[in-house]
């Protein structure tokens, strides 16, 4: 079976629409979102009809927890004043433009989703299996640490998002941790596309007994997705969202919320 995993949407309903179409075209039978539906982009309420229409199962991100529970900030935990200033603009805009019904819907989203397909045990979370807003960056996460998390949560494939940059780590027994990337904004690499992830279990075993061989055959594909980023930028300007956010959409470079980036990931960016 092919499954598609979308990371943070950040109100980018245009990228979500493009991702659904792209994933279906590639044969994805199930669609999942790992949370953070809001932030950054325009028109929060345009995301929800797509989630309902295409039956996209969602994990609750820290943003969704905040908006759904009427909290005052996004709980991203930035400590740099400039980062917090921009994060608050984004949060206040998203909160003010998310309907009460959608807020209530976000409130009841699960913190994790577990299922088994072709003998493969999936665990979907937002940041890490143990903490919704934990940043797991490729350069600051040891392999034995992820082994511990995978052991504790008894999963073969652990999928998360939150940090905004896709990566994966192979673990013992052919298990994997996969950061599926985000649809909400580009990856700080000077390109305007966003990313989602396809997992193909069709060559895996059909039962737990066959799992050893099956896991090695699981296909993981990171998909770079083009979408109408010019339109997104126009709509962001129309909504009077900060020009710094628009610049990210148009340039592919992150301009805000940079403090949480480890040196290695930050070095490749422009700011």
């Amino acid at each position: 079976m092919k499954l598609a995993f979308f990371g943070g949407i950040y109100n980018n309903y245009l990228a979500l629409e493009a991702a659904v179409y792209d994933a279906q075209r590639r044969g994805a039978e199930r669609l999942y979102c790992l949370g953070d539906l809001g932030a950054f982009g325009p028109h929060p309420d345009r995301v929800f009809p797509l989630l309902y229409q295409y039956d996209i199962q969602c994990v609750q991100g820290n943003y969704d927890h905040s908006i759904g529970n009427d909290l005052h900030d996004c709980q991203c935990g930035y400590t740099d004043p400039r980062d917090n200033w921009f994060a608050q603009i984004s949060y206040d805009y998203t909160y003010a433009n998310t309907s009460p019904a959608n807020r209530e819907w976000m409130c009841q989203l699960p913190k994790e989703i577990r299922f088994e397909v072709d003998g493969i045990r999936f665990l979907l979370c937002h940041g890490s299996p143990r903490q919704t807003n934990e940043f797991l960056w490729e350069s600051t996460t040891s392999t034995h640490f992820i082994e511990r998390l995978a052991d504790q949560c008894e999963a073969d494939l652990v999928l998360g998002t939150h940090s905004g940059i896709h990566w994966q780590r192979r673990l013992s027994g052919d298990r994997r941790f996969i950061n599926v990337g985000v649809l909400g904004r580009p990856e700080n690499d000077g390109r305007t596309n966003v990313w989602y992830t396809l997992v193909d279990t069709s060559r895996a075993g059909q039962s737990r007994a066959e799992q050893g061989a099956g896991l090695a055959n699981v296909g993981v594909e990171f998909v770079g997705l083009e979408y109408d980023h010019d339109r997104l930028a126009r709509e962001m300007r129309d909504e009077k969202l900060p020009e710094e956010f628009v610049e990210t959409v148009l340039s592919g470079w992150w301009t805000t919320c940079l403090e949480v980036l480890p040196g290695k990931e930050r070095r490749v960016g422009r700011f």
Binding site: C76, G77, P81, T132, W137, S142, E265
Partner: protein, 295 residues
Amino acid sequence: MENAPSVALESLDTLWFQVAGTRCNLECAHCFISCSPHNDSYGFLTLDVVRERLDESVKWGVRDYYFTGGEPFLNRDIVPILELTLQYGPATVLTNATVLKSEWVERLRRAEEATQYCLEFRVSIDGPSPETNDPVRGEGTFVRAMKGVELLVDHGFLPIITMTRVWEEENDHEVLGQFRNVLREHGYTRPRLKVLPRLKIGAESCRTEGYGQFERVTPELLDGFDTGQLVCSHSRVITDRGVAVCPILLDEPSAIMGQSLGDANRAFPLAHGACYTCYQYGAICTNPSSKPVEA
């Protein structure tokens, strides 16, 4: 202190190495463990000891490794130690950047490039000028440290400039703004900054004042508090005398919890004034980090 609440080691995420013991080329007036050229209360760690502890850390699933002292770059093994560590996981080294050599930084840059992991430098400088820094860290140290920053930046590192708040807290914004400008003038165009609260123990207790008797964590204060913010809930420290609870309380006799990580896997009472600072500010020892979302 009677009735001090205890905090368990919830998860050993971060392993510190007191790699230079308490030996430092500087003698900062605010040092919470009074490091100096003459303080031998903790000694250097060898490459072999670090290797043994890294091996031990694997089964604990440690996420990252931090190196401190004293001044880590006084340890002649520090470059091979960091090179070795990067084969296990991400590493952060806390330095005053006054003794760095170009060939060391070059080797470390190559080592970082060769792994998937990050090597972070945290450079201690107390404020944006010799006037704020030198009275605390010593005559001429601002200029020397900034040369170290330039060296790191020239080699592609983005050091985290870490300053102890030796000014009033309400001046943070102004001081940080000034520091960003100064760093840019020195070629560091996207500076990363971190402010640490003062820890009123060790030399600092003489420079200003120690903790008052009511500056303690009580059971009531922990009601509803996320103990994940406390260093002792997710870290331990390898020293030449055994495994310590945290990098701050090394002068406390109770800080050494045993010889193995297993020995140190037990609750620690928050009986000290410095525990109160850790409680107040949270995550004070780690690089920029997130606060947990909920209990």
